[in-house]
């Protein structure tokens, strides 16, 4: 059984007729697997994971056939039961570490809070464990950092603290929402390395939400490419990079600057993600897709499995056996 199994997840803001921000998403993560979710801003990557964590507030509406995590349907849990799982077995690291920590409390307090809440550790025991965690996330002079406030730490340090908080109760699944986007390039690699180390060491599942395809290519086992709230392609790494089957995945990969070496212009996909008022009747990518045909503009394709994964396209690319 999968560690995480999301079936037909939709998230809307406003009322049930509103255009969904996440639109019928199916997703699974195995124990110990690294799954990357990629897609441009507004494609619903973060909202999907926020919905799983129960962090979507009114007027947000979350619906799903199931949100199975570790044998529990998160969607049907009451607040208190959910809070026994969230922060313990299922935890999250956010994008901007400089604002993700509470400025009024010391680093030690904020880590110990998790230990107290989920493991019942108190006093010296909690402090000792917090110190070990800071050492584990490779913070130099960890003992003195316990009493530091977030504003005394650099961005990289703060993200290490946030990671320490997230792994404090040894989660089974860690969600990292663009954990390196707000950091210096030199620090990004270190933080990714740390996350992957921890993932291997504790054999936890890791969902990596990112823009950075280079990171995905190096770290993930599997990729889910999202566009306008839908999964448009699921595939293994590196197969998906060598031969993407969805035109959007292909465009994303082409847009990596290194792939445009020698060219006078970087490769881009013209147009923007459809919004509320210009949502196409057919395939959501059809206005931007270089391969779109008349059929694509009228009909919505479904996410269909193929030999290397799945693609939401009537005319998938790079397949040996032609479909349709």
């Amino acid at each position: 059984m999968s560690l995480l199994d999301i079936r037909n997840l939709s998230v809307r803001f406003g009322d049930t007729n509103a255009i969904p921000v996440v639109d019928g998403l199916d997703l699974s993560v195995q124990a110990g697997e690294v799954l990357a979710i990629v897609g441009e801003s507004g494609s619903g990557k973060s909202v999907t994971m926020m919905a799983l964590m129960g962090l979507i507030d009114a007027p947000g509406i979350v619906t799903a056939d199931s949100l199975q995590f570790d044998g529990t349907d998160m969607l049907r849990l009451k607040g208190r039961q959910r809070r026994h799982i969230v922060g313990k077995d299922l935890s999250m690291v956010f994008q901007d570490p400089m604002t993700a920590l509470n400025p009024s409390y010391t680093v030690g307090f904020q880590i110990e809070e998790v230990l107290r809440q989920h493991l019942g550790l108190k006093g010296q025991a909690a402090r000792q464990r917090a110190l070990q965690l800071l050492e584990r996330v490779e913070i130099p002079a960890a003992a003195s950092r316990l009493d530091a406030y977030p504003h005394q730490l650099s961005g990289g340090m703060s993200q290490r603290v946030a990671i320490a908080m997230a792994i404090a109760a040894e989660p089974k699944l860690l969600i990292a929402d663009e954990p390196t986007t707000a950091l210096d390039v030199t620090i990004q690699a270190q933080i990714m390395e740390l996350l992957l180390d921890l993932q291997r060491e504790q054999n936890m599942g890791l969902v990596l939400i990112t823009h950075d395809l280079a990171v995905v290519a190096e770290t993930a086992n599997r990729v889910c490419v999202m566009y306008a709230g839908q999964a448009v392609e699921l595939g293994q790494v590196p197969a998906l990079f060598d031969a993407p089957t969805h035109p959007y995945s292909e465009a994303l990969i082409k847009a990596i600057p290194e792939h445009s070496l020698g060219a006078t212009r970087l490769s881009t996909l013209p147009g923007i993600v459809p919004g509320r008022y210009d949502r196409p009747a057919g395939c959501l990518l059809s206005p931007r897709c270089p391969y779109a045909q008349a059929h694509c503009r009228d009909q919505r394709p479904s996410l269909d499995a193929h030999e290397r994964g799945a693609a939401r396209c009537f005319y998938p690319l790079n397949l040996t056996a032609e479909v349709a």
Partner: protein, 336 residues
């Protein structure tokens, strides 16, 4: 932290001189002098008037009077009242506990109710409760204190007869002043029912005096709380699996308190100023009433030094608030 306190203290010196200069000048700008007021405006014998003015040192040029005043202050002498011949300091210390008691009661009322209402309004944003709190607080903020006080007296004292009209305690009781705080003194005395009576007297003035601070604190708490609840660290706290109460109070309110605390400090100044009106309406024997009477009598030493003492108090309170602010906000504390 120490340099933070030292810098704050350094700022006090110019403030102090500014206040002495202002009160000194302002009281002298009011037409009429103490001698005239004492003798009655008509038929002042010019010679007697000149003699009295000379005796009081009021015939010297203004700059000389100011230097006299400052050198007197430097010796720690606050002078004595022209009317009662009692040292200003003695009058002040006798009356001040009454004002302090009223101010603290008003602050307790405004602070507790304002925080609770503000937090609930922020949590239930857009609800009927939220709109109600905001509407009422806007009305409260715009209310002229003297009118509001009279209105409450009409309603609760005259029509309903629930509270007494004026004073600190019923004349039936003879309470020996020990601390100067009526609530404490009545508890210390053996008189039956005196405490309840003192409390009854305190309620209405405290509500009147606390109305504006209540409105300000409720609105400030609401907006600070709304801002804080949108912060990323609140999301982090929720992602930790903490209870909603802990998220709101430990992670939210703690940060929202920082701006509220500033407003709280400023309101204490406003409270002491508001006490002048409230005390007059309720015949509350405190500093405010004392100052109003002294201004009427052009009692220069009392007005100058009474206002100076109150100003020092406001400065002191704001100083304490600044320190609390530093304690509440580690980013301030660590500033070099």
């Amino acid at each position: 932290m120490l340099s933070f306190i030292a810098r704050r203290l350094g700022l006090l010196i110019p403030t102090f001189f500014g206040i002495t200069l202002l009160t000194f000048a302002l009281i002298r700008m009011i037409p009429g002098d103490p001698v005239e007021v004492m003798m009655g405006e008509r038929r002042v014998d010019p010679q007697m008037h000149a003699e009295a003015m000379e005796r009081l040192g009021l015939n010297k040029p203004l700059y000389a009077q100011y230097i006299d005043y400052i050198s007197q202050l430097a010796r720690g002498d606050l002078g004595e009242s022209l009317r009662t011949r009692t040292p200003v300091w003695d009058e002040f210390t006798t009356l001040f506990p009454a004002t302090l008691e009223l101010t603290l009661a008003a602050l307790l009322f405004a602070g507790s109710l304002g925080l609770i209402a503000g937090v609930i309004a922020a949590l239930k944003r857009g609800s009927l409760f939220d709109h109600g709190v905001m509407g009422i607080s806007l009305a409260g903020y715009s209310m002229p204190i003297f009118w509001w006080g009279l209105l409450l007296i009409m309603c609760f004292s005259v029509w309903l007869g629930w509270t007494p009209v004026s004073g600190r305690i019923d004349l039936l009781y003879d309470i020996p002043p020990v601390t100067g705080f009526m609530l404490i003194d009545t508890l210390l005395s053996d008189e039956q029912g005196a405490f309840a009576d003192a409390l009854h007297h305190l309620i209405l003035p405290a509500i009147v005096l606390g109305t504006i601070p209540l409105a300000v604190i409720a609105r400030m708490t609401r907006s600070a709380m709304l801002e804080v609840l949108r912060e990323d660290y609140i999301r982090t706290a929720r992602a930790k699996g903490l209870s909603p109460a802990r998220v709101v109070f430990v992670h939210g309110l703690r940060n929202a308190l920082i701006p509220v605390l500033t407003v709280f400090g400023l309101q204490i100044g406003a409270l002491l100023a508001g006490a002048v009106l409230t005390e007059t309406i309720f015949s509350w024997p405190g500093i405010g009433k004392w100052l109003i009477e002294s201004i009427g009598a052009r009692d220069y030493p009392v007005v100058q030094n009474g206002i100076l003492l109150i100003a020092c108090l406001v400065i002191l309170v704001n100083f304490v608030v600044d320190i609390l602010y530093g304690l509440a906000n580690p980013r301030i504390r660590h500033q070099k």
